[in-house]
Symmetry: C2
Subunit: 340 residues, 2 copies
């Protein structure tokens, strides 16, 4: 059986201006992973006060992952990777806390404990295969921090059409200085890299993947450069076996992030799925075609599962419209106004 | 869509000697609801150190509910109704804490808050129908306490072949005295009844059912006299509409608990499903036929769903053997020894 595991959490790093588009505004951003978990679980927010959208109104990739789930009916397990806001989605606890800003000292003190607990959980999962996904606003910046701490190629994607890569690099430089680290200082020490430069979602994802691999569960990393960073953490934890990443065509085509080069460095096989949003005038799809969001909540992995099951992407697009309409109706009902 | 919602929690009342068979010994009993949630979610324990069995080795009804789920693939949501031990199952949090012994003063102080949060969650659930189940060792004693506090007929079933009803009555009398209450003093005040004489699972179940009913989600109470107590709480919260309970033939036939009379008092329609365990020599079925366990983890509700879907009970029995064999293998692998 295939289980889709979503690790959901937050980092204060996301509140740095200009870093993330995973929320309509910085105050709402902390609700995004909690709401994403609800959309994936129930098809709509249940406890979260918002439908997660970007500042321009592009809906969260949770909409696309949920649409694929409504077609495929795969089982979902959400793991709390440091949520800072309540969620109505059921979550597995592994002792992760919301991460602090990586420019602070010791921003993720719970990383080693959460990594260890997630590893045990991953070992115990009885599934044949897990597809591992993330939702954490600001996560590409912490991913960049971890890649640099490990001494890997520092290239990450973005939920913004224009990747604020220089801003991210400056944050990471400040973070390395705050931790008194040089690039590569945490090579071979994945929990140190995450604790000092990452976020709890990376710690939990890497621990869970490691445990699953150790117990011969097939693991597919579903995401963009954040999940490639999980692959890097696994390599630095001495995982030698082949690793697979499923992502979207939007991430694969992102010129600001050399996914192919980073994947090659880490010996990760990449599958990119194109959901065929080009030419769409639907708000949930046109924004992606224009370079917004790109990936997250395992969108590329969910599309790959749909593709593997022989589903037509036109069917998935129809279901995206259904999920989106439900969210818009909900928001209008509550008069909180999702822009569409 | 139908969602199966399991409210899982603990009460210190269970540790009173001779009250409950929901664990191989009193120390292990606190793990039972955590393990039940894992068996329902994953098909086997994941984080819990034990396979939940009675002192004689009768496996938890989670085995039967899981078997039905493997046939039907219904969606499961576990709500934390005051778990005292870790679970690897994803859980929804509504602020419930493990209940104290009802012979203490104010044993469930979180009951009103958990009731309110569960009610909001129930209102927000987008499902057409929920099947609501419980797992809480000692839960028939707290149910008796609540029935008496409400002034309802005090008849409850038992997970033991010989219902220790006099023991339970004595505990409830002590509890009423500790709360300075007379029978019926909490009539019309369901949260007071639960707070002073119940457990968090009852508070959460009643709140969740109330919220679901308020938002026109069909609710089936899946269980025995504990879920009838939830019906009583709903009646005392002024719910007038018809209520349905699905239970097992073992509860319906329990001479120590007049389910039919209590259900009639509360205007609850009862459906009892017989899984056909009579004459079986399988350890997971023969014990039930001999009067052990009887119900729990929504066993009767899961059997009713199977029945409604046109499944043959012989198919369910085959699947019970499969689930049971997996648990026995797991236990033997860990050398902790489930008696079979």
């Amino acid at each position: 059986m295939t289980r889709f595991v979503l690790v959901a959490g937050t980092t204060e790093t996301a509140t740095i201006e200009g870093i993330s588009a995973a929320g309509a505004d910085p105050d709402l951003m902390a609700h995004t992973p909690s709401a994403d978990a609800e959309i994936l679980t129930y098809g709509e927010p249940v406890r979260s006060p918002v439908v997660p959208v970007s500042p321009t109104g592009c809906p969260s990739p949770a909409v696309i992952t949920r649409a694929a789930r409504e077609a495929l009916d795969f089982e979902v397990t959400v793991v709390d990777g440091g949520l800072s806001q309540p969620t109505g989605a059921p979550t597995v606890t592994v002792g992760a806390s919301a991460g602090d800003d990586i420019r602070e000292q010791d921003p993720v003190p719970t990383a080693p404990g959460a990594f260890a607990a997630a590893r045990q959980f991953g070992q115990a999962l009885p599934d044949d295969e897990i597809v591992l996904a993330e939702t954490v606003p600001g996560g590409t910046t912490t991913a960049l921090g971890v890649l640099r701490a490990l001494g890997e190629r520092g290239v990450v994607s973005s939920s913004l059409p224009e990747n604020p890569i220089e801003r991210k690099q400056a944050v990471v430089e400040e973070g390395l200085a705050a931790s008194s680290m040089e690039p590569g200082d945490a090579a071979g020490d994945p929990t140190r890299a995450v604790r000092e430069m990452g976020d709890s979602v990376l710690a939990v994802s890497a621990g869970l993947a490691l445990g699953a691999i150790e117990s011969d569960t097939a693991v597919t990393l579903a995401g963009g450069t954040q999940m490639l960073t999980v692959a890097a953490l696994l390599r630095h934890a001495d995982v030698g076996r082949s690793l697979a990443l499923t992502t979207t065509s939007f991430v694969a085509a992102d010129p600001s992030a050399d996914v192919a080069a980073l994947a090659a460095d880490l010996a990760v096989d990449v599958t990119a799925t194109d959901p065929g949003f080009d030419g769409s005038n639907h708000p949930a799809m046109a924004a992606y075609a224009a370079g917004e969001a790109k990936e997250g909540v395992g969108m590329g992995g969910a599309l790959a599962l749909a593709d593997r099951a022989g589903l037509d992407m036109a069917d998935i697009r129809d279901r995206i419209e259904t999920v989106y309409a439900r969210l818009v109706d909900d928001e209008l009902g509550e008069e909180t106004g999702m822009r569409s």
